[in-house]
Symmetry: C2
Subunit: 209 residues, 2 copies
């Protein structure tokens, strides 16, 4: 439960991170609202009140979890914004990076994608998500203007379809399969950029014509 080698002081047991992992797994299985502190305590093998030693409220557990996901996604965008080069290349980096964050922090991102905005914590997370989307939209627009992306579809719709596809990964991807994160990112980028259609001579003529 502790990541550093030196022994922790005080009575051994869960720390915040340990509680968080179990809680997020439960939230994802039942939904946040449908997960009671009682069943959460059962899963931890603790009493309900023990949880309140580590977190001030159920809401605060959610807040920590959502920040874990959001900071990961925002980090990918920060890297892209710091880099120079074609917008298409920076967008490529963001898409692949987003897939990796999804896979590495799967439970946290899964939870984030199901937030409805019932509380202040949830609304704040939704706003950070919207800000993320806006930054990606700007990148898509840039890539279109430099001639890298097709210009016949609204960049906002392009961005939403792109992340609709990427985010849906949390619905079915499970780690440990033959499909690792790199291969998955390759597939997603291949479908997104080049489409599903099998190239044919007809298509080549169409492109030439």
């Amino acid at each position: 439960m502790s990541e550093n080698g030196s022994l922790r002081r005080g009575r051994p047991g869960y720390d915040q991170q340990g509680i968080l992992e179990v809680a997020v797994a439960a939230f994802n299985q039942f939904g946040y609202d449908a997960t009671s502190m009682g069943v959460l305590a059962d899963r931890l093998g603790l009493s309900k009140s023990a949880i309140y030693h580590h977190f001030a409220s159920k809401d605060e557990i959610l807040e920590r979890a959502l920040d874990e996901a959001l900071s990961g996604l925002e980090g990918v965008l920060d890297e892209a914004d710091a880099a120079r080069g074609r917008a298409a290349d920076r967008l490529d980096h963001v898409l692949r990076g987003a897939v990796h964050v999804l896979v590495d922090k799967l439970p946290y991102v899964t939870l984030l994608l199901r937030v409805r905005g019932n509380t202040e914590v949830e609304r704040s997370a939704l706003e950070r998500r919207r800000a993320f989307d806006r930054r990606v939209m700007a990148l898509v627009t840039e890539a279109r203007d430099e001639g890298s992306l097709r210009s016949d579809i609204d960049p906002r719709i392009v961005e939403r379809l792109l992340f609709g596809m990427i985010n849906s990964i949390v619905e079915w991807y499970r780690p440990g399969g033959k499909e690792d994160a790199d291969r998955l990112a390759d597939d997603v980028i291949a479908v997104a950029l080049d489409g599903l259609r099998m190239p044919t001579s007809n298509r080549i003529e169409e492109l030439l014509g």
Copy 2:
């Protein structure tokens, strides 16, 4: 509240459909579990107990709503299975049909896509969804085998990415905008089949080589 012109007998008021529409809207706003029968009654302008005149339980309201979405989606697949012709054309019909069902029954499909499987009703709906996905996967496999779709990506992943993209429409599409269902379906199919990349001479050479 009534769709037929002739007057209903008995005291006027809500019928099942009227209750259902308001309930589904509330479920989508707050989430099913976070929507209490109390706030639902407030939205309807009724007492809690009045709702139980129309539905036996909260669960039954959900059941009706999920069936509305599922029967719509299954209908599209039934049409495609009844038709003859290339698998690619039947798949095209399914994808466009799914977009239209999503738009026409937006609140119901939105609700369906958020079901977690906590109750028997939810688990049954999830199983119908999985059966739908399996039928679409078979169609994707057929289209690949006839040479219409690229063969370098697992058909199961293709299907999931496709419907990840399509299903994500419920997260942002709102009726009444400039983007109607037909245009939206065109955009989705365009991105899915031909990708986002701007065709270049390099790409043509690559296809020819």
